[in-house]
Symmetry: C2
Subunit: 671 residues, 2 copies
């Protein structure tokens, strides 16, 4: 069909929707032109669907972006960010002004290249890394169902809508999300697939020839297909989707860069400005004659009315909420605000006292299980899970011992062998609000989930990663399963608390920090093998300082041993041997670098001391020169592990008391 015919067909089908969509298209063109960079193609192609969704289906109130029962809208193809910013401006979100649109992709404005969570109302999650939007949306839908189960569907009853493109479907994480959503029958999840046959490299036929709807159906989805520029068909499809008992995918055939006369329908319009001539021609073809960034008053009024459309729903919800039992209201509000209940401190103190009363020699993954028993009991917002390693991660404890299924939104999610999908879904649960997600896998497979862990940190949300089998100490499974560089590589991620506790007490303390850290994600590195309990008294959460002197042998220091996790007890053994030989030794346990680096210079200097320092960690030595003088002062791994029993590996790789003692003597010149 010639392009002018396609345009007039869209207009004829529904002139009002066409006009609304043109507002999005014009602003998207203008924003990208002004920035001289960006992606106009997707916003232009999805504008009709966005107009139908926002004007007729999406439950939202632009004046109340945080209304807990709003529908969530996720732009999984986040490069089409001008679509979202246009919608936020048009519907009247207070913080997205026309100045924001004019300063797309500029320093100091929240209209970033890709939508960033927390920067403005209406941005429900950070998107751009493809496939993660849909996977995060699955988490939102899981959270909605859990919250509805807890607080009733009078208070929690909303949908999650996702726009996505071919990239999200080519990415493996997209499939993980689709498979999990179908399995859980998340029928309030509705996906609109921007089926425009174009990716950056050109036609999708270069690399992608599958039958997408058939794949979704194989995974238990309801699928619909329609013309993405036909407002009537889109409206009908959305209406049908809302009635399904399965998640729905609407494959909408679209033209990328719809309206651009020469570049529309080609990869040229994907990720570059149209250029002045094509921009002008596109506007002419669309019948748009306003100045750049100007939206005719009548159309802006219509859009603002759409933005206010949900006010009545919102008011009705508030009335229902006010009618709730006061305790339930307070609990809901506490949960949504991410506040801790006052009982938490007592519960943790009680658990700590119990450990002091009966010290436990266990693996730190087991210590984590014990901590979780306390915390999940105290915090009904905690929702657990594992990527099919429940018995290894020890993430399932009595309070969460109810499976999340299609029929019952329990407190434990079987994520399947889908680490990346799990991590992204946990991010979705976290940004949804009201819940604290934690989920487990082996530390080595943090690699699979890594970009979602990064997004937790970038979004400043409190997702908790339970990563067990944290060193060569896992033994026989061998180097494919033994983390070496992982802790270092995770420490390098900004705003991520990587915690490697030494014993039961530190593990409890680290968990206490993790559940309270609602703006910083936490990653717990936990052992397979047992360690003695080192801490026997004290109420203060010493792990919150990141590092502290856990043992002092003699007065002053000839040497300081810094260790983490399972190697703290090894360092204590070495220190005992050194002290027996006449050296004064401090042992510093350092469960969390990030927290330590945030302490005062005085505290850090006093803790690290002036004496020569040795670091001990059965992981890559990479990065330890932050605290010790030389790589030679790190007792750690310098290559990959091997398949053998753990004790043999420690010996073969030289992570031993003897090696620590020898290095200490060499450094101090005492023998």
């Amino acid at each position: 069909m010639p392009k002018d015919v396609i345009i007039s067909a869209a207009e004829e089908k529904d002139p009002a929707n066409f006009a609304l969509a043109n507002c999005i298209r014009a602003l998207s063109i203008d924003g990208v032109e002004a920035a001289k960079s960006g992606h106009p193609g997707a916003p232009m192609g999805m504008a009709d669907a966005a107009a139908v969704l926002f004007s007729k289906h999406l439950k939202f109130d632009a004046s109340a972006p945080l209304w807990p029962d709003r529908d969530r809208f996720v732009l999984s193809n986040g490069h089409g960010s001008m679509l979202l910013y246009s919608l936020l401006y048009l519907t009247g979100y207070e913080d997205t002004t026309i100045e924001q649109i004019k300063n797309f992709r500029q320093w100091g404005y929240h209209t970033a290249g890709h939508p960033e969570y927390g920067h403005a109302g209406g941005i429900e999650t950070t998107t751009g890394p493809l496939g993660q939007g849909i996977a995060t949306a699955v988490g939102m839908a899981l959270a909605e169902r859990r919250m509805a189960e807890e607080f009733g569907s009078d208070i929690v009853d909303h949908r999650t809508y996702v726009f996505l493109g071919d990239g999200c479907l080519q990415e493996g994480i997209g499939q993980e999300a689709i498979s999990l959503a179908g399995h859980q029958k998340l029928n309030k999840l509705i996906v609109l697939y921007d089926d425009n046959s174009i990716t950056i490299d050109g036609d999708t036929s270069i690399s992608f020839s599958e039958d997408v709807p058939a794949r979704f159906r194989a995974c238990g989805w309801n699928t619909l297909e329609c013309d993405g520029h036909d407002a009537t068909a889109l409206d009908a499809a959305l209406t049908q989707a809302k009635d399904s008992d399965k998640p729905t995918m609407i494959a909408m055939k679209t033209v990328i860069g719809f309206g651009a006369p020469t570049k529309g329908g080609t990869a040229k319009v994907h990720g570059s400005p149209l250029g002045p001539d094509e921009a002008a021609a596109a506007k002419a073809a669309l019948g748009w004659d306003a100045e750049p960034f100007d939206v005719p008053a009548d159309l802006l009024t219509k859009w603002r009315d759409i933005g206010a459309r949900g006010a009545a729903d919102h008011a009705a919800w508030l009335a229902k909420f006010d009618a709730l039992d006061a305790d339930l209201q307070a609990e809901f509000t506490r949960r949504i605000n991410g506040e801790m209940p006052p009982e938490l401190s007592d519960a943790v103190a009680g658990a700590k006292a119990a450990l002091f009363a009966e010290p436990q020699k266990v693996a730190t993954r087991k210590a984590s299980q014990m901590a979780l028993e306390t915390l999940t009991e105290a915090l009904p917002e905690m929702i657990g899970g594992s990527a099919d390693l429940t018995g290894s991660n020890l993430t399932r404890v009595p309070a969460v011992d109810s499976q999340f299924t299609a029929d019952h939104a329990g407190r434990y999610i079987g994520y399947g062998v889908r680490e990346f999908g799990m991590a992204a879904a946990m991010n979705g649960i976290a940004v949804h609000g009201g819940l604290i997600p934690y989920g487990g896998t082996f530390l080595v497979f943090s690699d699979y989930a890594r970009n979602a862990i990064r997004l937790s940190a970038l979004m400043e949300i409190g997702t908790i990663y339970v990563m067990t089998h944290d060193s060569i100490g896992l033994g026989e499974d061998g180097p494919t399963h033994q983390p070496v560089e992982h802790v270092a590589s995770l420490r390098a991620i900004p705003n991520l608390n990587v915690m490697r506790p030494a014993d039961t007490v530190e593990t409890l303390e680290c968990w206490d920090i993790a559940v309270r850290s609602r703006k910083t994600p936490s990653l717990m590195a936990l052992s397979r093998q047992g360690v003695p309990q080192l801490r026997m008294d004290g109420t203060e959460n010493l792990s919150a300082k990141g590092a502290y002197v856990i043992r002092q042998f003699g007065e002053g220091r000839d040497v300081t041993l810094i260790a983490t996790g399972t190697e703290v007890s090894l360092a204590v053994e070495a220190a005992e041997a050194l002290h027996a030989d006449g050296l004064n030794v401090a042992v510093v346990s350092m469960p969390c670098w990030e927290l330590f680096d945030a302490q005062s210079p005085d505290y850090r200097a006093a803790t690290l001391g002036d004496a020569p320092r040795i670091a001990v960690e059965a992981l890559s030595t990479f990065g330890w020169t932050r605290y010790v003088a030389s790589e030679d002062d790190v007792i750690g791994m310098r290559g990959f592990g091997a398949s053998a029993p753990a004790n043999i590996l420690y010996e073969k790789f030289g992570i031993t008391k003897e090696a620590i003692v020898a290095r200490a003597k060499a450094l101090t010149g005492k023998s």
Copy 2:
């Protein structure tokens, strides 16, 4: 069906195959029992299929594990490693003796917890991290097709067989592989799916309810279903699969831990030894009465005959190979051996001379394109690609400008938006032999591919990663697309050359190193923004030292500036300013830490010098204390980036000439 009935049904169908399969089952039981750890369930369940495949279909010669035209066998569910080790021992691979089987998972033996490439004949790739086996196998099948196109199907005509389980199909990378294989119609790829309805957490119904064959069909595969313990049905299915013009997936319904009377068919047999009682009962149920690790002579003879079954094929192949044109023989041998042609050095020298004659101020990704033009011309074994970012990565150059399609195995692969799948496929191409794969994406998305990059390093193979847009210098796309911690986190991986070249000359040198490094993978971090050419003469590959003095201002040193990539020219500017103020300054360009750390202590000391040092890199400061005294001496990033033009970001984040100068003056006490 009761378990004893299932067993006798399998025996009745094909007693000979049943007996062969029992050898695998018995050895697998014994190996895991002796190690007191491991995964007996998968080997016991897949033994019948393995016996059919090896005895009737797989083209191999146990006496010649490296025969280039052998069929490849990939155990994607690598935890079932005893299946593979049993097969290698039974068919007579020389290095897999019964001692190896007896010492499963022990130090000093190659029978590791998961199969490790390069440790023994017949292990075609390292598996264990789920989903990567099938994705690597896709690479092998791509390689086979390309080599056949180049050398003819008389010489290259083999299949790739994959065993996989539910985990591989739940992992997103599995779908990436399936989708790509279907798109490319890789009909010599045959997958046997161990459909046993069990994962670690229990029944697959906890998390996995999709119609797997329907998903494969949606992706263009031929699918077959059969009883995985019915040798006749398996034989028929494999025969059919070999005739298909599409890749084939055979869903074989199996019982995990087949033969174990109480634990068989349950998760209990997945990852733990059967225990002495259950092991004895299983052997009794299977009618196996030999001593542990003993295989009755008649059965061992049958297996050894299977191992020798391909000798005639092998001899016929050798005859065909001998009949080839001598040049073609030599070229094939050179390619399979991973040797460089003598012309390469001249080609690189010529390209370098051209750069000296006409210096280029370009982005290092553009410099990479220029280097690739030379190298792909000189090395017909190079096969390029990109995860849908060809125009950004600049990976497609004239010599490889032929698309790999289902009809024509060209030299450029459109991997689609599948970074992880691409990386694993490249590993498959590399281990197949005869080709050097390189592929591009944005550096930030190395996160998606990270575990496959790790496997390249662990396997000691020469996969080349082209990672562009390597810092905040990419500008407006914002923090989701700006790598910060990535280079540090990649440097932490053992045996990976992370290279961040400073200009056209270093980029050419790094590429020269990369193509010659056949035992160490290389990852090139390349810029979006332009940089001046700094090197104007010299024939030596200075980048091969990892770091070297690129500029010296004055005699001796008051301060040393160490920089990488785009920040080397910034450091030179700062050094000029410092020298104008009377300081003597050396600028060290450090394109590759790994190569520098491998130099002699004298060279390292001379290069780094005794003067105070400052590091400059527009990335996370993490790790730089290896070379400088303090984090404060690193001019770099301490958090995530932002969306704005690149020059503004450098200024806002303090990565400027002024900041370098100020720190240098503070350190030297000169102002």
